[in-house]
């Protein structure tokens, strides 16, 4: 299991995606699966970067495990920002027309639907989100 710690800021997004992609590539992850995981990781990390410590600054740790047969990917995010469970928020109404459509919450919805499972816990002063996807 590999782990990196970065500033919880949008500037770190590329570093986070490269780290996760590196782990998946090394494990021989199929491209489509990598793209889906990237999409979920981007949405979760952007959420942390924007809200976890706002308006202060802080760090986030990302760990990634990929491999096995059947193929499986686990990505964990940990930050010490304010306790916040993004999964608590109700899903946005995706049936509204363009004019009435709200854009908030779409990122988390994407992450939920693209992954097989997302779990949140607050433990030892940390927000911990764990994403799982089976190939």
């Amino acid at each position: 299991m590999a782990e990196i710690t970065v500033a919880a800021a949008l500037d770190s997004l590329d570093t986070v995606l490269r780290f996760v992609d590196g782990q998946m590539e090394q494990a021989g992850c199929p491209l489509k699966l990598m793209t889906q995981v990237d999409m979920a990781v981007e949405e979760i990390f952007v959420n942390i970067a924007r809200y976890a410590y706002h308006p202060e600054a802080g760090e986030a740790s990302i760990r990634c495990e990929a491999g096995g047969d059947p193929f499986r990917i686990v990505v964990g995010f940990a930050d010490r920002g304010r306790p916040f469970n993004p999964l608590d928020r109700p899903d946005p109404d995706v049936t509204l027309d363009a004019e009435r459509r709200q854009i908030g919450g779409l990122g988390i919805l994407m992450a939920k639907r693209l992954m097989d499972d997302i779990q949140y816990e607050y433990r030892d002063g940390q927000n911990i989100l764990t994403l799982r996807k089976n190939g």
């Binding site: 949008l10 952007v46 854009i103």
Partner: protein, 103 residues
């Protein structure tokens, strides 16, 4: 992730604007498309977005597409072509398949 950036290629004629996107429409690149559309849609009655070179979309990209769709619904129409399987999955998850005209 081979390519972080996005390339925008524009062709305009007789009120039709064609925009081909290549790469990733994500948190980093969505503002680039937003700026491009803000300055390009005046007098346009038809906007065609070609996604054949687009590999990836995030919610930031969806936000820009929604704004473009609203603008074009008022002044003409917008179509999106050549959407890949993964991006189509995102359009389905988010209900964007109902909002956008994907051909």
């Amino acid at each position: 992730m081979e390519e972080i950036a996005m390339t925008i290629t524009k062709t305009a004629e007789n009120g039709t604007l064609r925009i081909a996107l290549e790469g990733r429409l994500d948190t980093n690149t969505a503002p680039q498309l937003e700026t491009e559309l803000k300055t390009s849609l005046s007098g346009i009655s038809e906007l065609e977005l070609d996604f054949s070179g687009l590999e990836y979309i995030s919610s930031a990209g969806l936000r820009v597409l929604l704004a473009a769709q609203k603008t074009m619904s008022r002044q003409g129409k917008m179509t999106i072509r050549n959407v890949n399987e993964t991006i189509m999955e995102v359009f389905e998850i988010t209900g964007f398949v109902e909002i956008l005209t994907i051909v």
